[in-house]
């Protein structure tokens, strides 16, 4: 079943992932999968246009480095602007989930 989800959800997950440390795309995918016990799975290819869009908005910055297995990889890092954006998105998300919970808890 396919359902429209709020715009920006994947962006928010990416920004959150990068609060820990700079990561390459593959590590972001793995992190989301692990942290949600495999409940959420990012469609792997779709991550990259999102990363490039966030970089364009200057919410994240990118640089090339060496991966854990000594391969050249593009690492993304959260910028101050991105951190601010994440705070905004988190508060919006909390308000939304609270509102939905209220609706669902009505008898």
């Amino acid at each position: 079943m396919k359902v429209d989800l709020l715009q920006g959800t994947l962006d928010m997950l990416i920004l959150k992932a990068l609060t820990r440390s700079p990561m390459h795309g593959y590590a972001i995918v793995r992190w989301i999968q692990q942290i949600t016990d495999d409940v959420l799975r990012v469609e792997e290819g779709s991550l990259y246009p999102a990363l490039h869009r966030l970089e364009k908005r200057r919410w994240i910055s990118a640089s090339w480095g060496l991966s854990e297995n000594n391969r050249k990889a593009k690492y993304y890092k959260l910028t101050a602007r991105g951190r601010k954006q994440l705070t905004t998105e988190l508060s919006g998300w909390q308000r939304l989930t609270e509102a939905i919970t209220k609706v669902m808890q009505t008898v």
Binding site: D4, Q7, H24, G25, V39, R41, S46, S67, K74
Partner: protein, 152 residues
């Protein structure tokens, strides 16, 4: 299969930002190789591991084009446009300076002015345009044991 628009983006990126195109390819290839390696570490045969990695990744060509579009929207397309309009302005001015005695000087003026005005209009139009529209899809399965997939 890539559409004409995608092919134009590829060409513009190839001409004005070959390094960006290479970076995107390297980045996507790295992802597929990492997934392939992980699959092999889990016991899959190399061919099967690669196939699975490519399937999980999705349409590589289309994703590459999407990344290029974002990059082109950023500055490569503007670089190409500036270059083209610069040539028109220069040609117009050369026409104006060299052809005044033959009576086609005003054509040169018109070309140069049109190119400058067009550039100004594009600048004003871009200032007010929103970011690329994004749409997220959330796919869930009735079966709770299956993971929910997030795509874009």
């Amino acid at each position: 299969m890539l559409g004409i628009k995608d092919k134009v983006y590829r060409l513009v990126a190839f001409l004005f930002s070959p390094a960006a195109q290479r970076c995107i390819e390297d980045e996507l290839r790295f992802h597929i190789e990492m997934r392939t390696q992980e699959n092999m570490d889990c016991g899959m045969a190399p061919t099967q591991a690669r196939q699975d990695a490519e399937e999980r990744f999705g349409n590589l060509e289309s994703i590459k084009s999407d990344c290029l579009k974002i990059h082109c929207d950023n500055h490569v397309a503007m670089k190409a446009l500036n270059c083209l309009l610069g040539i028109v302005v220069a040609f117009g001015l050369v026409l104006r300076l060299t052809s005044s005695t033959r009576g086609i000087g005003p054509t040169g003026d018109l070309m140069a002015m049109s190119a400058i005005l067009l550039r100004l209009l594009i600048h004003l139009r871009l200032k007010g345009s929103p970011d690329l529209e994004t749409r997220l899809m959330f796919t869930s399965n009735a079966n709770k044991k299956r993971p929910m997939r997030i795509s874009q």
